[in-house]
């Protein structure tokens, strides 16, 4: 059983007097395993938030099916087992932090006795204990985000949906939130992350999906998405002899020399070993061999560019 599963999910909005059709999701199928941190990436308007809203029954799909923890949606009961931090959330300003958690905890079906214990520990976890009695209308954006995270965890959920969880949070706070999310992962919880901060998604996600204009472009581990074909960077302590370059070219090994390394584009690991043998034969001292990776951001941008071009 998957934590989250969608099958050919589509959503078409009709807007304006002319009822113009806008496709937010187009046959979107995805499976998220239990206990993994899953990042959903996409440019603005890609359909990321629509997908979460369908999963939470805030929006009805035009077609297709989805399930959470094996329960076909819509299912109100399963919401007792999920947590959600929406983007741009607005809490009742007249409540204090403790009262917000108490309200949403009770609405999640958590017993009062449990809330008495859980609220202080969650406030401590997200670092807002000293503001617990302050009205939330006085909270800064970062404090609101921390409170939002505590709210999403108030029912000790099995699946947590986080839409831009570090929006407005300072770098130290972002690191703390990343730590909390990794702790949650270690506790076996499934985390579904929507974020524009690709570097952050890269740091904590086990798998990532890239969505554009409602369509799934790619899904895989961060490793799979950031590995660029068969390029290797080989550190060298001496310059390359000319005859080595000629020999490599003859063997279809494309070498781009640098000051302290060469970048080699080769077909497979066997070819890589042949290249290393060749370097050693010419007494070139090797200091390192690293598979070339692009950042998630580069991969994301390249993928979106290719999609736009096609």
């Amino acid at each position: 059983m998957h934590a989250i599963q969608s099958d050919s999910l589509s959503k078409v909005y009709r807007t304006g007097i002319s009822k113009q059709h806008i496709t937010a999701l187009d046959g979107f199928s995805l499976e998220v395993n239990k206990g993994e941190v899953f990042g959903l990436l996409g440019p603005n308007g890609a359909g990321k938030t629509t997908f979460i809203k369908i999963l939470l029954s805030l929006t009805r799909p035009t077609s297709g099916r989805a399930s959470i923890l094996g329960k076909e949606l819509p299912d109100n009961k399963v919401k007792e087992r999920i947590g959600y931090l929406p983007e741009n959330h607005r809490y009742p300003g007249y409540l204090t932090g403790v009262q917000v958690l108490s309200l949403f905890g009770r609405l999640s079906g958590v017993e009062n006795a449990t809330l008495q214990k859980r609220i202080p520990s969650l406030m401590a976890l997200v670092g807002i204990t000293e503001w617990r009695a302050m009205k939330v209308k006085k909270y800064s954006k970062g404090m609101m985000q921390r409170l939002g995270l505590a709210q999403a965890l108030i029912n000790d959920p099995e699946v947590v949906f986080l839409d831009e969880p570090t929006d407005g949070v300072d770098p130290v706070g972002r690191k703390e939130i990343r730590g909390i999310l990794l702790d949650l992962k270690n506790q076996g919880k499934t985390i579904f992350l929507n974020s524009h901060l690709l570097s952050e998604v890269e740091l904590i996600s086990d798998r990532v999906a890239i969505l554009d204009r409602g369509k799934l472009l790619k899904v895989g581990t961060v490793e799979e998405l950031t590995t660029t074909g068969s390029q290797y960077q080989i550190g060298i302590a001496s310059s390359l002899p000319e005859d080595l370059k000629t020999e490599a070219a003859a063997r279809s090994m494309h070498l781009t020399p640098g000051a302290e390394f060469i970048t080699a584009t080769i077909e497979n690991v066997t070819a890589l070993n042949s290249l290393i043998d060749l370097l050693r034969k010419h007494r070139v001292e090797i200091t390192s061999v690293v598979k070339v990776k692009s950042s998630l951001e580069d991969s994301f941008i390249n993928l979106i560019k290719r999609e736009v071009a096609s």
């Binding site: 809203k53 399963v78 959330h89 607005r90 009742p92 007249y94 309200l103 009770r106 609405l107 999640s108």
Partner: protein, 276 residues
């Protein structure tokens, strides 16, 4: 359980609104005025009711004092309703559109909470706050008249409930408009338009709208509108009848209950079809 949580949180939310305190303040001032103004002196000829120490008429028997008090309370109840509508609608009209705003509705509906529960919880929370205000005013009035004129009557509690029901019927229309338009201004305008123009005109349709045409379809439409909307005037007459120990016409209550059910049901239906 979840509905109770929503009612309690709405109650708390409304206690932060200045309009509710204005209404309570006006009620308090009137109660203090009645407390300071009314007194009585008993003699062999009966009881003389005094207003700021001056007799307002000849001595009357105890039953007549009770009748006088009932007349007074009925008059105050009508005045109270005007205050409740003015301040109560202003205070409560925003609570349903507010909870449907982006960023707020997501939080509520991501919980195991039905959309009908959200609407009903907010609606009942608004009604509860108004009930407390009405109870405070009419209860206070009954206690003051009991102390000052020696006439004790528990009818005030029932009349408070009936007055709250009248408000609840009007508030169902406000709530429906709040769901449809998702702002507070249109429900407020709608409520006052209905209360000051549409309601009275429909109530007196035989002496007004029916004179325009004898066409059966036209009159049927006018009648349909009358029966579709809560009948506030008829219900207010019922509250006065209750206080004055007169026979109550329950028909407007039954029709208004049905129409309020339709408005709330319509609100739930629209809410259930809406994408957020």
């Amino acid at each position: 359980m979840r509905i109770l949580t929503l009612i309690a949180s709405t109650f708390r939310e409304l206690l932060t609104k200045a309009t509710i305190y204005v209404l309570a303040g006006i009620s308090t001032l009137i109660l203090l005025g009645v407390l300071a103004g009314f007194s009585s002196s008993s003699g062999t000829e009966g009881t003389t009711i005094l207003l700021f120490g001056n007799p307002i008429g000849p001595a009357i028997p105890a039953e007549a004092v009770a009748e006088f008090v009932n007349q007074m309370v009925a008059g105050f109840a009508k005045g109270m309703f005007a205050g409740v509508v003015l301040f109560g609608i202003f205070a409560t009209a925003g609570i349903i559109p507010d909870v449907l705003e982006k960023g707020t509705v997501d939080l509520y509906l991501s919980k195991p909470l039905g959309r009908w529960e959200l609407l009903l919880g907010k609606y009942l929370g608004g009604v509860c706050v108004v009930f407390v205000n009405i109870l405070y005013f009419l209860g206070g009035m009954a206690i003051i008249f009991g102390i000052r004129l020696g006439t004790w009557d528990l009818q005030f509690f029932l009349s408070s409930l009936m007055l709250t029901f009248v408000f609840a019927c009007l508030y169902s229309v406000v709530g429906f408009l709040g769901v449809v338009f998702r702002n507070a201004a249109i429900p407020i305008i709608g409520a006052f338009l209905y209360l000051l123009i549409v309601g009275p005109v429909l109530h007196q349709r035989e002496m007004g709208l029916f004179l325009i045409s004898e066409n059966v379809v036209y009159r049927g439409v006018v009648d349909g509108c009358y029966y579709l909307l809560p009948q506030l005037s008829g219900m207010m007459d019922g509250v006065a009848s209750l206080i004055l120990r007169q026979e109550i016409d329950w028909k407007p209550y039954a029709q208004s209950l049905l129409s309020s059910g339709l408005f709330l049901g319509g609100g739930v239906f629209i809410l259930s079809k809406r994408d957020f």
